[in-house]
Symmetry: C3
Subunit: 126 residues, 3 copies
């Protein structure tokens, strides 16, 4: 996918659920991961769009874009946010579906866009 701005939280729950449905695994684990070092995956509320935007804004507050970093590419803040949020989430699968709470959605977190990005979904039965 193509992200559109520097910071962006994209709800990918429906895409992950589609993969899980295709795998026809009744019970197991689903791992959602990114192979990028300036992005992340998180689970949080999607009902009110101000939740992901508050998270994104506060992350920028905690880890400002410019802060005397050494990394030449100038995107150290994005790397740090990636480590703080984490590049994967694990969700149990019950009765063939992701076991998520009413308000939980899976978000791809862009910290250094716009870029071409991808995420992976791994399903394990058990």
């Amino acid at each position: 996918m193509e992200t559109k701005s520097r910071f962006e939280f994209i709800d990918i729950t429906a895409q992950v659920e589609r993969v899980v449905a295709e795998k026809q695994v009744d019970s197991g684990l689903c791992v959602v991961y990114v192979s990028h070092t300036t992005a992340a995956v998180t689970i949080n509320e999607n009902a009110d769009p101000s939740v992901p935007s508050d998270i994104s804004r506060k992350m920028e507050d905690i880890v400002p874009l410019r802060n005397g970093y050494d990394h030449m590419e100038g995107n150290s803040a994005a790397h740090i946010k990636s480590t703080l949020v984490g590049c994967s989430e694990i969700v149990p699968i019950e009765k063939g579906r992701l076991y998520l709470g009413t308000w939980q959605a899976i978000f791809f977190c862009e910290f250094d866009g716009p870029r071409r990005r991808q995420f992976g979904v791994k399903v394990i039965s058990g």
Copy 2:
């Protein structure tokens, strides 16, 4: 369970161990997860109760309750902490038991209590 205050770290290791013992899985993975978006799960020291209280207090320092957030419900700080700490932990199972270090305990992290809360335990053999 019922949490009692706004911020609370509750040691749930014994309850998780009970589920693992019941499953009689010799080797595998145990995922502990919460389906809430204003709570989290972490692994840290439980020997000295000042460790979880220092963590909780510092989290409040990094992500203050009021900070010009947009989310109408007024609990954005709890959502942000949930993303920073994460809503699940994964622990290997060896010889039928959680493979935890001497000082490691699993904590349910309440960031927006008091509330009725629950956590899940998923055990995979392998």
Copy 3:
């Protein structure tokens, strides 16, 4: 292993890959975990050594060593960083190898060294 300074990010990707290769699992999950409460595991860029050093330095900025903590041992900052970064990472295994992006490496994060440390690798087929 023996860490050498108080803060240190050690690239352990090659060691983890060796364990995965030995297990001869074609498809599955690999969990890398530490059983310590003042260390962590993260995935980030290893091409430019200033990336892990910027992360380590910013973590020190967010969670200073001395900050009025209660914990008697004086290493609360390390415990807090461990909770923020997390004590495990999960990586999918595809075609017998860790599925990591071009720039991704697995780092052991020392927050309270120098100490004798260890990490574990758990491989699940599926």
